[in-house]
Subunit: 269 residues, 2 copies
């Protein structure tokens, strides 16, 4: 299965929750700290407990890069724990001039083997195009993000009356010749989703911002239900993996994602 | 010396050339391939030969990340070869929500020990602010880049008549409370520099795009000379480090930067 097929297959089975592995050594259950590699053991147990219920796993590179070379090894090892049929997202937010982006694409898609990546649009088409050459991958390009700073540039109003982030979404549609593009669209305000479906069209959407950042699961699922479409992932990181800091953190994470899946199913049925 | 002082000290000594270490295993002199770590040996010799003449060294992360964990080790080892008084730039082009940017900042500034970093502005203030907490570092935020895609979003015209990249520059001036901000401004068209000095004001400027990307050294230096200001770095990567692929690549790189420094001095005198 290619990346898009993995996403569609998950959605077909009513799985929409992406588990964000923002694994922070300072937030691990104390019982894990005696392990030789606490971060890796945490990820292993989280994945083992949740993989039946997860639509995707998103690895936030910053949390691993802060550990240097060992952190990169932990990313690679973590990928080995994720079943082949589940979409993996390298949340790396890369984007540079062409010959540099080519190296980043090779690092994340070839060397590490991720199914998909998150990208910055700021530098335009040629900064993204080396990633688009990978037919079987998915490139989630930042459109409207879930943080307060989204107002600073993403929501600037252009001379034609549209917003910068809408130009990005329209461009991503043009770049999507190989059906390997998607967007990141913050789920903090669901009315913004409704207002922008005409731009988003059928692009896959990765939605951060539900939970810790204030977005509501119900509103997001409902917005997609109303236009009768799928191809989306709701990312939840801290709300799942740090649901509980006891020795049973993995079982509690599983319970949480099961509960989230049930909420989604109830809204969709 | 903090990062800004290193930049100012270099400029004071008429050094404006930043050597970009875009070190690619496929482009190394054949004689190096027998070394146990050809990339590191290449960087060591380039730095040893050029450090008297370089204003700064910029390490392009993509070229190292593509080698996985070993690549990260090469970044750290390369930093050890750079004399303490020369500015180091981690060309990582990071930018994410606050709690994630905090990790990236710690990775590049604390763990690796870079003096400065390049950042994506797209996600706005809170995506940059964790980097701004480091008083003694420099944050070069992408404004107008040197690639063709700069036209796609950076040069979109806003409803008030200005361009997106100008809003970024104005914002960076507002974020510069601790005098630890700068911008990246592509040097492909020097008239754009002249037209935007009123926005740039006294921000340090990192200028890519001279050489392989088509910008002219003379025009850039002249633009700054005309307004009688310094605080800038002209990055040249391939034009210096791959000047020559013989065994004397390091001496040829040194000759090239000496020649560039002489050109600059001639313009300034």
């Amino acid at each position: 299965m290619n990346a898009l097929q993995k996403l569609e297959s998950a959605n077909h089975n009513n799985k929409f929750i992406c588990v964000g592995l923002d694994t922070d050594i300072n937030k691990l259950p104390e019982s894990l700290l005696k392990e030789s590699n606490p971060i890796l053991e945490f990820n292993r147990r989280i994945i083992e407990a949740t993989s039946k219920y997860a639509a995707a796993y998103k690895i936030n590179f910053a949390f691993y890069e802060v550990e240097g070379a060992n952190g990169l090894k932990n990313i690679e090892q973590t990928l080995n724990y994720i079943p082949q049929d589940i979409l993996t997202i390298g949340d790396a937010k890369r984007g540079d001039i062409g010959n540099t982006s080519k190296k980043y694409a090779s690092a994340v898609f070839n060397s590490m083997g991720f199914d998909s990546i998150t990208l910055h649009p700021y530098m335009g088409y040629d900064s993204v195009s080396p990633f688009l050459e990978y037919d079987d991958k998915l490139n989630f390009i930042l459109a409207l993000t879930s943080n307060p700073g989204a107002s600073d540039f993403e929501k600037l109003k252009l001379s034609d009356g549209s917003y910068v982030f809408q130009k990005v979404i329209n461009a991503v549609n043009n770049w999507n010749k190989k059906k390997n593009c998607g967007i990141v669209f913050g789920a903090t305000r669901s009315e913004e989703l409704n207002e922008n479906f005409e731009h988003i069209r059928d692009l896959p959407v990765l939605l951060p911002g539900v939970g810790a950042q204030g977005g509501k699961l119900h509103d997001v699922v409902n917005a997609f239900k109303e236009i009768n479409r799928k191809r989306y992932l709701i990312n939840i990181s801290r709300g799942i993996i740090y649901k509980d800091s006891s020795d049973d953190f993995d079982m509690n994470a599983a319970e949480e994602i099961i509960s989230l899946n049930n909420q989604v199913s109830n809204i969709l049925s």
